[in-house]
């Protein structure tokens, strides 16, 4: 099943998702929400790849999506480990608390 959708429509939706994710990253201070927003952004990138693949009828788009998937999985595993450490160490989930690397 495949329907004809103009490619720019899909890209617009991907852009919308990406920007919503970015908005979340910029606004939220809770690190859990921050990570969820990041997931949304990566997902939107995957959507753009799928759209491109569908446009050319090539499998490369889906392959890129899979690599993004692997990346997202790895990122989430490490990031959530960090979340645990941060919450233990700083006793908060505020991402601004972990600003020891300031110049």
């Amino acid at each position: 099943m495949a329907i004809e959708v103009p490619v720019e429509h899909v890209l617009l939706v991907a852009a919308g998702l990406f920007l919503l994710g970015l908005l979340g990253v910029l606004v939220r201070r809770n690190i859990i929400f921050l990570l969820m927003s990041l997931e949304v952004m990566m997902n939107s990138a995957g959507l753009a790849f799928i759209a491109a693949g569908a446009k050319w009828g090539a499998p490369d788009g889906q392959i890129m999506f899979m690599l993004i998937l692997a990346l997202a999985a790895a990122e989430v595993a490490v990031a959530l480990g960090l979340v645990l450490q941060i919450s233990r160490r700083f006793d908060t989930l505020d991402v601004d608390a972990a600003s020891e690397l300031n110049g």
């Binding site: 099943m1 617009l12 606004v27 799928i50 569908a54 446009k55 050319w56 499998p59 889906q62």
Partner: protein
């Protein structure tokens, strides 16, 4: 009609994502995130990528969100954290980032609409067989690299999750 089949899940995805980033309770946000991911999976299916759609459901909506859920449960984010969130999420905070993101949105729309060959439609079905053939031939190296990455993430997550790190805090 065809476009409606695309735009309905797209609207659901956008709306639920908006809800994800505005929730105060992390558990609620996760539920909306699942909705968002599922609707994106529908879009994948519509676009003729059933294999990607399946992976989206299984790995994103399944594994990754479950991981989030575990952490939320471990951190025991209850009513206090909801109250803290409402303290952190004052309406004024949205202004600056919203302006920034709007500018970005305008730029992106401008770039996307101005695509050199706009109005090219998608519509070709690319099944799992084609993906598998491509993935394990020319992209084999990428698969290996992804494997390395996952291994490194495994070790890193294992190490970071251990409790003893806590005891090494400086006096």
């Amino acid at each position: 009609m065809d476009l409606a089949l695309f735009w309905i899940p797209a609207a659901v995805a956008l709306a639920s994502t908006l809800l994800v980033i505005t929730r105060k309770n992390a558990a609620h946000a996760l539920i909306y995130l699942v909705v968002s991911l599922l609707s994106v999976a529908v879009i994948f299916f519509v676009l003729g990528a059933p294999f990607a759609a399946a992976l989206e459901v299984v790995i994103y909506a399944g594994a990754i969100v479950v991981l989030f859920l575990f952490v939320v449960m471990m951190l025991n984010l209850g009513n206090t954290s909801v109250m803290r969130e409402s303290r952190w999420l004052r309406p004024g905070m949205w202004v600056g980032p919203a302006i920034l993101v709007s500018i970005l949105l305008i730029t992106m729309v401008y770039v996307i609409v101005g695509l050199p060959n706009a109005n090219v439609t998608t519509g070709e079905m690319v099944g799992p067989k084609a993906v598998g053939n491509e993935l394990f031939r020319p992209y084999l190296l990428a698969v290996e690299l992804a494997g390395f990455l996952l291994l490194a993430a495994l070790i890193g997550a294992y190490h970071l999750g251990r409790r003893y790190l806590e005891q090494r805090r400086e006096p």
